[in-house]
């Protein structure tokens, strides 16, 4: 366990911005990136010349900080970082920005994720013909051809070891869709019932179409500033009180890397390993968290994270959800915007932006009353990242 308590509340998220989320943006990824960054910077009330850092993550599907700095016309680009990765990299971009601001390498850092993930290169399938190289030489010849397939053992083994049911997974999908009906950005806003879920077709048993994130085009951006600077900006600051990243032994990347199969457990994610550092930095316990925006590329991921981040015992994530505790009006609302399952698969920074909206109190009809502390996560299987934010 490491100790980052010195960084608690030293920085804040001061601006958030989105583009439209769609199936076909009709514009370049650079256009999406520039628009989201400009919106976030304006939202903060910062002048363009005050932005001196840019951090982004991509899966060889996006644009570089330099290109965005050019569009924004920044007089000078200081700290910048382009991190290769999907899920685990989302909250990690914010963590990098926090470290840059806290140690004086930058004053105001804009973090973004931009992709044409639906009309362009899709990662959950499509027309691509991935080659059986590296670790995937042991997967692809057998028809294990997508990162989605890598989530299947999580569900199956959780069912085998803890008796988790499809209705429990379905309850999460239904409640997240309910939240999305109140989110104008969300791609999928038509309410669904548990019957709709159970009638949804199998993509790969044990998961259905409604268990999977919806791939989209779009971009989201956030601005990280010092707590001092945040005091005199447009919105009340949302402080970064805790942050952590990493995982346990044999940390594979969950895409098509099978080092994971050396592991003894398929039913726990990285959260178990990083949550001690996360809660210690923030000086809180899971009981203090009001809302959660969990990375949810597949319905099973929030269920396991409820356990791994200490909200219930191992194996009890299914009943916890089915009892309604994670609904918008429950004791611990999860994915208040609909998550990837309904808002869209922007790879995680959209979850952080939603948490900021909620903590500011401007989430409209889906606002959780008196939300003070939010947890957000980014999942890459055995590694991941997480933030604790407070108003």
């Amino acid at each position: 366990m490491y100790d980052a308590r010195g960084l608690k509340d030293k920085t804040a998220i001061t601006g958030i911005g989105w583009t439209e989320i769609s199936r076909n943006s009709g514009v370049s990824v650079l256009s999406l990136a520039a628009e989201a960054c400009k919106t976030a910077i304006d939202d903060a009330g910062l002048k363009m010349e005050e932005i001196d850092g840019i951090v982004t993550h991509n899966m060889s599907d996006s644009v570089m900080p330099q290109q965005v700095a050019t569009c924004l016309g920044l007089p000078q680009l200081g700290y910048h970082l382009e991190y290769w990765g999907g899920g685990p990299a989302s909250d990690q971009t914010i963590i990098n920005a926090v470290m840059a601001v806290a140690c004086g390498m930058a004053k105001n850092v804009v973090c973004f994720r931009a992709l044409n993930g639906r009309s362009g290169r899709r990662i959950g399938g499509g027309d691509e013909r991935p080659q059986a190289t590296s670790d995937s030489q042991f997967l692809i010849p057998y028809g294990w051809t997508s990162f989605l397939h890598s989530c299947a053992p999580w569900i199956h083994r959780h069912m085998v070891e803890y008796g988790t049911t499809e209705r429990q997974l379905g309850a999460l999908c239904v409640s997240q869709r309910h939240n999305a009906t109140m989110n104008e950005r969300a791609m999928l806003r038509k309410p669904i019932t548990i019957e709709d879920y159970l009638a949804s077709r199998w993509v790969a048993w044990p998961f259905r179409l409604l268990d999977i994130c919806i791939e989209v085009d779009g971009a989201v951006a956030l601005v990280v500033s010092s707590a001092e600077r945040a005091k005199s900006l447009k919105h009340s600051p949302v402080y970064i009180m805790g942050m952590a990243l990493g995982g346990g032994p044999l940390p594979s990347y969950y895409g098509m890397n099978i080092a994971a199969f050396l592991r003894n457990s398929h039913t726990e994610l990285f959260g178990k390993y990083i949550s001690p550092s996360l809660y210690r930095m923030a000086g809180i316990t899971p009981k203090d968290v009001d809302i959660i925006e969990f990375y949810d590329e597949m319905s099973i991921a929030p269920l396991m994270q409820l356990e791994d981040f200490g909200f219930c015992k191992k194996g009890e994530g299914g009943p916890f959800i089915e009892e309604g505790r994670t609904k918008l009006d429950g004791e611990l609302p999860v994915n208040t915007h609909g998550g990837f399952l309904s808002e869209g698969y922007l790879h995680g920074l959209n979850h952080v932006a939603e948490a900021v909206s909620q903590l500011r109190g401007d989430a409209g009809p889906r606002q959780v009353k008196d939300a003070e502390i939010a947890l957000t996560t980014g999942v890459g299987g055995e590694v991941g990242s997480a933030l604790l934010l407070r108003r």
């Binding site: 399938g125 499509g126 027309d127 030489q137 057998y142 028809g143 989605l148």
Partner: protein
């Protein structure tokens, strides 16, 4: 033999001997020369003792079903004609945690059970490659 059109492994420095063993219908597992721990997938260093000396041991090819999934909607164009098809994960008897993704040759998902004993068979898909697959132990 009809032309095989599905993706074939691309052996590299760490995995070549595994696939050469398969071609001879021998299931070889990489094993640390120093601490004797098996590992899969092949790695250039033993995660247990950090030795970079390894050999290949022929294993029995017997194991138990650990998990499986059934693909109904293909995500790779070469598997379009195969759906629904089943991918299994087999844990080898030699060492807990050594798990191979594969396919069954003689049973569908309705017959699979966690812990069910299986053993390796080799599918000579081309002249260059045999894929280790599994059958139910009677």
């Amino acid at each position: 033999m009809a032309e095989y059109k599905k993706p074939l492994p691309s052996p590299d420095e760490d995995t070549r001997e595994y696939w050469e063993g398969c071609k001879r219908h021998e299931l070889l597992m990489q094993r640390c020369n120093d601490c004797k721990t098996f590992r899969f997938p092949p790695l250039p260093m033993c995660p247990k003792c950090n030795s970079m000396k390894w050999g290949w041991s022929k294993v029995t090819g017997r194991g138990k079903i650990y998990s499986w999934f059934v693909v109904h909607q293909p995500t790779h164009p070469d598997f379009v004609d195969d759906v629904p098809y089943t991918v299994v994960i087999v844990e080898l008897d030699e060492q807990k945690g050594i798990r191979l993704p594969s396919n069954m040759v003689d049973c569908g998902p309705e017959d699979l059970k966690v812990g069910m004993p299986v053993e390796v068979v080799f599918d000579d898909v081309t002249e260059e490659f045999a894929l280790p697959k599994f059958k139910v132990v009677a």
